[in-house]
Symmetry: C2
Subunit: 286 residues, 2 copies
Amino acid sequence: MFIERLTIIGVGLIGGSLARALKRAGACGEIVGCGRNTANLQHAIELGVIDRYDTNPAVAVKDADRVVVAVPLGAMADLFAAIRDALSPQAIITDVGSAKATVVADARQHLGQHLPRFVPGHPIAGTEKNGVAASFAELFENHRVILTPLPETDSTAHAKIKTMWKLTKAEVVDMSVEYHDEVLAATSHLPHLLAYSLVDTLAQMAERSELFQYAAGGFRDFTRIASSEPRMWHDITLANREAILKVLDRFNTNLAQLADAIRQEDSQEIENTFSRAKAARDKLTL
Amino acid sequence: MFIERLTIIGVGLIGGSLARALKRAGACGEIVGCGRNTANLQHAIELGVIDRYDTNPAVAVKDADRVVVAVPLGAMADLFAAIRDALSPQAIITDVGSAKATVVADARQHLGQHLPRFVPGHPIAGTEKNGVAASFAELFENHRVILTPLPETDSTAHAKIKTMWKLTKAEVVDMSVEYHDEVLAATSHLPHLLAYSLVDTLAQMAERSELFQYAAGGFRDFTRIASSEPRMWHDITLANREAILKVLDRFNTNLAQLADAIRQEDSQEIENTFSRAKAARDKLTL
């Protein structure tokens, strides 16, 4: 068996989908869930996502050869501290956090002698839904999983986490922690902030009107990510604060130039901006 | 027959879909297409969308009892001037422009004695695709069509355009020109500007990286509208300039507050903003 005992801490959309995908691949002996919400864990058992659970992380990781930490970024430090002394000396640990610098700092501070077997990871997959009920085995298929190994990361541990993700049919790539955080700030974190901020702006205007009634399909697509879980995105925003503020500055500059062009009725500049954007967007396969 | 001869000037996604829906409803005797691109008009005949065409608007509107103007906003004035002397005295005219103040100004200037039979309209439907090949009879089903009749609009003309859109299974509502332009600036025009500007920002960063490769589903949904036709959105942006700049100001204020909260690590403010937005977004049915 590729993994004898897998412990997944945080059995939500990502943790649950990973469990399903690895079960489908026949890669796991036993899957142990861990979380705070027993009703959710019980539901995960009923759905066949996990085999058993324990709400105490130190108990849940006992004798696990693979541990996946899928908790919110703000909960990583405490979680690492809680499992450190209970982890088996061979356990390989990974996480699925959407920002990597803070997770790596937390791991360095709290994982002690286990640090070389910690492989920071981030599957670029998800929907605006959350919870184990939304999980499905195909979530990672043809999606990227980014690993950001550290200088001290053990190469066997790295290879085994890579193989684990390949079993979900994901494409696995390595990247530096810093580059990961810049790329995700631009392609994921900033779009979420813009969607949240636009909907919040309109909600305030809409208090005295029926504004949203006239929103068409384009608006619905554009703002779908504003339905994402606020607490999770709060954690991501604070964790990747610096990279987000940097790309937000670039965006503000671009938007201010476009606003100037509109104010000055600069036809050419407006059409050039739209055309450049369309050309770049059309290259993304749908 | 509800309409004996319908002339559609601009046989693209909107004009083509309207023709298809009215044919399906058995509401039209003959549908005459008009446009500059004969290949497109020929294709529209092959698709069964129109019965015949003429590239000269003055010829195309001859003896039509209903005329739908579906040309870009920047082409409205010239088009109105071109058809004025050829319109039959009973012809009822409508348009499908995404901003209404400029169309109304163009109509007042160029439609002459036909103004009372001009009913400004805007179907809130569309996709990021365009052209008659993308048209389909169901486009308007369960979508809103906004009419913005003028003080001088003839009530029979108004009622007939309302009935025409109801035959496409759309829900028709009346609104003032000014309110329409404010609502659309907020729910459609600003989101398009933000999507174009974000993709343009990232495209400039991406020149030296493979940034877009790591874009996930949320980004694709968020930026889909940046694939919209640049010239059309150029026209809309300039036509609805003032309302757009007003709502852009509100958005910039909201985004700057959020950026301040991130800079100051104001946890509560960040989560409150995201939660308000999620609550508003979740109310929109999908």
